[in-house]
């Protein structure tokens, strides 16, 4: 028996989990010694120097906070820092939102966007009593993992990206949502769709909202790029605000990783717009119970930074200016790449480079072309053809454009 104990490992039958594909690309990029290498696979904003950029407003607020002797490190309430959730909700819905004035919302701080989606889907799976969820095809890969781990046995995809037009397959999307069973959950991206960069226009949103209402589907709006899509918060928030205006109930998962550049501080919240204050109270109590079993309560540091900035007019303006720097640079890079490909007469239609919105672009490059691009030119992107536009800068634009031109010309 003693010999048995010595030999046995509880987990010697365990298999290595398949490594995260995005992480793998990053590893290969790091190992590459070529001096021309370009990383277009990263999931965070890069500045003109190709470096991470901490927003100046964040540095300002953090410096203030570090010398503030009134701040402590106590537990936050189970639903989070009120100054944060209130200001985040106001940012999302607009201060005059009927959901706010009628007190028909509850807000629950969570571990960034992932945690917000996790708690939201966990709640919906249990209390909508549905095991069916609809995700866009394609979508952020973690949506599938979260849906699976929160008990959705029936994970379906609605058509979304049209590879021929490199735009929205609106008819496919409407058809698929129309055939969805009543009472199931549908996850939508509020703006700057990840990974495609393809967003519905307002008319298309109205059609989508209509189907959701008619089919009695429950929407969870994944909102990771508020203000980061077009630089205009109100514009980016429009789909959510329209749903509220139309009297719908919905959940919104909000992340401040990108729009405040606070990736590793894990700042986010789940905002629930409901039909009455009483329902809000019941929902919030259930969310607290879910959170208690995952992480008990949330970190205060990042939430304080966001709350401080949003609640101070000067700092708020500084944040908007910082946002404009990022979205402005991304737009410049989109234009820059597009102009160069057009000038070269690169085969194909490249309008999507400037039509798509946000940090990511589905270039339309296929697996072989991606492999060629990486092998020959040391340009790293996802095998899906997704690039991070902010990985481009004036130093590498010519190089990348030339590389894409060569790739598309020679590899089919």
């Amino acid at each position: 028996k003693m010999a048995e104990i010595r030999r046995v490992s509880y987990f010697d039958q365990l298999e290595t989990a398949k490594p995260d594909p995005v992480f793998n690309v990053l590893v290969k990029f790091k190992e590459d010694r070529d001096q021309n290498k370009v990383n277009l696979s990263v999931g965070a904003y890069r500045n003109e120097e190709g470096l991470p950029w901490v927003l100046p407003v964040v540095r300002t607020v953090e410096a203030q906070m570090s010398t503030d002797l009134m701040l402590n490190h106590e537990y936050l309430p189970l639903d989070g820092l009120k100054a944060f959730t209130d200001s985040a909700t106001k940012l999302l819905l607009g201060g005059d939102s009927p959901a706010i004035t009628q007190n028909r919302f509850c807000a629950f701080q969570a571990i960034s966007g992932t945690g917000s989606v996790r708690v939201g889907l966990q709640f919906l799976n249990k209390f909508l009593q549905t095991d069916t969820i609809y995700l866009s095809k394609p979508t952020w890969s973690n949506h599938h993992g979260i849906a699976r781990d929160t008990g959705f046995a029936n994970i379906k995809e609605y058509r979304y990206y049209n590879p021929d037009t490199k735009g929205l397959d609106i008819e496919g999307m409407i058809a698929d949502l129309t055939s969805a069973p009543e009472n199931c959950v549908v996850v939508l991206h509020t703006c700057a769709h990840n990974p495609t960069g393809v967003d519905p226009n307002r008319d298309q949103w109205l059609r989508i909202i209509n189907v959701i209402k008619e089919r009695k589907l429950f929407p969870l709006m994944d909102t990771a790029y508020l203000g980061f899509a077009t630089g205009d918060v109100d514009n980016d928030a429009w789909p959510v605000r329209e749903m509220v205006r139309q009297g719908m109930e919905l959940f919104i998962a909000q992340s401040f990783a990108k729009n405040f550049g606070l990736y590793n501080e894990r700042v986010g919240q789940l905002c629930c717009v409901l039909s009455s204050p009483e329902v809000c109270s019941a929902v919030l109590s259930q969310l607290k119970f879910i959170g208690r079993r995952l992480w008990s309560n949330c970190p205060h540091h990042g939430a304080r930074i966001v709350a401080t900035a949003l609640n101070n007019p000067t700092l708020y303006q500084e944040w908007i200016d910082n946002l404009t720097v990022m979205t402005g640079r991304i737009k410049d890079m989109r234009d820059g790449l597009f102009q160069r490909l057009k000038a070269k007469g690169t085969p194909g239609n490249w309008d999507h480079i400037v039509n798509q919105i946000g940090m990511f672009s589905y270039t339309g490059l296929n697996g072989d072309q991606v492999e060629y691009l990486t092998k020959k030119y040391h340009i790293y992107l996802l095998s899906s053809g997704r690039i991070n536009i902010s990985g481009l800068n004036h130093a590498n634009l010519d190089y990348v454009a030339a590389a894409i031109h060569d790739t598309v010309t020679n590899i089919k």
Binding site: F11, S66, A110, I111, N142, Q246, R266, S281, W295
Partner: protein, 414 residues
């Protein structure tokens, strides 16, 4: 357009009409009740949080100093990676196991930075529920932190109790514990608290840990340690970790769920570390890959701020010395409150035996006060505490000690 506005009636029934309120969290719910009590004389004994003499929040000076130091460094805000900040994981693991632990030297520790202790427990529990090749039942002490059974049940494990606290002696029920460990099916999952047991304040002595180790090895049990009060049982971190280190030295491939909430006062920063001691370096890599599959759909990657503070403190000798000193001061402060409570209880003239106040270890005094007496304390004296009679000595303000002692005497005299 008219069609759309007609659809948008606010009187549409909510899908949630059937929804009821969630269960009120025992700890935070109690705290809420205390807060809402309008009486001027009330005492909050609901939550175990270290407070200064006025009952207010306390930030360790070294923490404030290091926080400023870190902010001045102007570090990035990039994702920490699913498993978290590597230097933190290393430093945290070395703190609890000791730098020369065979588990560390032989690179056997699978680690993950987690959202404080709660997430460490949730991740380990989920890992076991998913991949443990034997029975999916976890055994925990007859009294334990209320969130323990909740977390493990949520993860899909069945929860059972083992005898631990002996209410007749106010100490460890060694006979009951050893017997229960032997009676459990082989390869059972058993949860222990490393030190400063919450709520009983009773810890096994080193020779008792040795016996626990012997039986568990015989039974091939899988051990999980909740490491929340490191430094608060004896005032010395190495001494508090002695039990765990003995078990690791004895070859147990155990799991640890480590929190820096209490010993660094980083409650709101959520700094935690999950450790799984594996059989080989290769297995460690495999286990970490499996843990990452669990973490990614939960919260993707952990919060950096608290982990940076912890790492800076643990890896800078000057900072570490300061921290050890301040943590020891917190311990002394709690011990002093314990002493004062003991004194005040004796002073009331109570004929009950209050010696266990001084025998127990850590933040709490497990008083033996009954549920009815606890209710009376709340009703008649505005004293809010857990129904199991747990008194967080750590949270007693100096001006409340005498009041509390008198009230306890009042409800326990016959």
């Amino acid at each position: 357009f008219n069609f759309i506005t007609k659809m948008a009636t606010r009187s549409e029934r909510s899908v949630w009409s059937h929804l009821s309120h969630g269960p009120i969290d025992p700890t935070f719910g109690l705290f809420d009740s205390y807060r809402n009590d309008p009486r001027p004389r009330k005492v909050n004994m609901a939550i175990g949080i270290y407070t200064d003499d006025k009952g207010g929040p306390y930030v360790l000076p070294i923490v404030k100093k290091v926080e400023r130091y870190i902010v001045e460094k102007e570090l990035d805000k990039e994702y920490a990676g699913i498993m978290g900040y590597h230097a933190f994981r290393q430093a945290a693991t070395e703190l609890v196991l000791g730098k020369d632990s065979p588990a560390i030297v032989n690179k056997l520790c699978a680690t993950a930075q987690t959202v404080a202790g709660t997430s460490a427990l949730r991740i380990i529990a989920t890992f076991l529920a998913k991949l443990y090749p034997y029975g999916k039942t976890v055994y925990m002490s007859n009294h334990t932190w209320p969130n323990h059974p909740t977390i493990f049940k949520e993860s899909g494990l069945t929860v059972e109790k083992y005898r631990y606290y002996d209410s007749s002696t106010g100490g460890l029920d060694t006979a009951g514990l050893y017997e229960d460990l032997q009676k459990m099916p082989e390869h059972s999952i058993v949860l222990f608290q490393a030190c400063g047991h919450n709520p009983t304040a009773v810890d096994p002595k080193l020779d008792e840990w040795a016996e626990i180790s012997r039986i568990c090895k015989e039974q091939s049990h899988f051990l999980i340690f909740d490491v929340t009060y490191l430094g608060f049982a004896s005032g010395d971190i190495e001494q508090d970790a002695a039990g765990i280190r003995k078990l690791v030295a004895d070859g147990h491939k155990l799991a640890l769920c480590q929190s820096f909430s209490k010993n660094m006062g980083l409650y709101g920063d959520r700094a935690g570390n999950a450790i799984l001691v594996c059989s080989s370096e290769e297995e460690k890599t495999i286990v970490e890959s499996q843990l990452s599959l669990i973490i990614r759909p939960m919260y993707s990657n952990p919060p950096i701020h608290g982990a940076r503070i912890v790492t800076e403190i643990l890896t800078n000798p000057e900072f570490k010395t300061e921290w050890i000193k301040e943590q020891r001061e917190m311990f002394d402060h709690v011990f002093e409150k314990r002493r004062k409570l003991h004194e005040a209880l004796i002073k009331t003239g109570s004929t009950l035996n209050w010696s266990r106040v001084m025998e127990q270890k850590g933040w709490f005094f497990f008083s033996g006060i009954t549920k009815e007496q606890v209710e009376k304390l709340e009703k008649d004296h505005g004293i809010y505490m857990s129904k199991n009679g747990r008194i967080p000595v750590v949270a007693l303000a100096a001006e409340d000690i005498e009041y509390v002692a008198k009230a306890i005497h009042e409800v326990t005299r016959h």
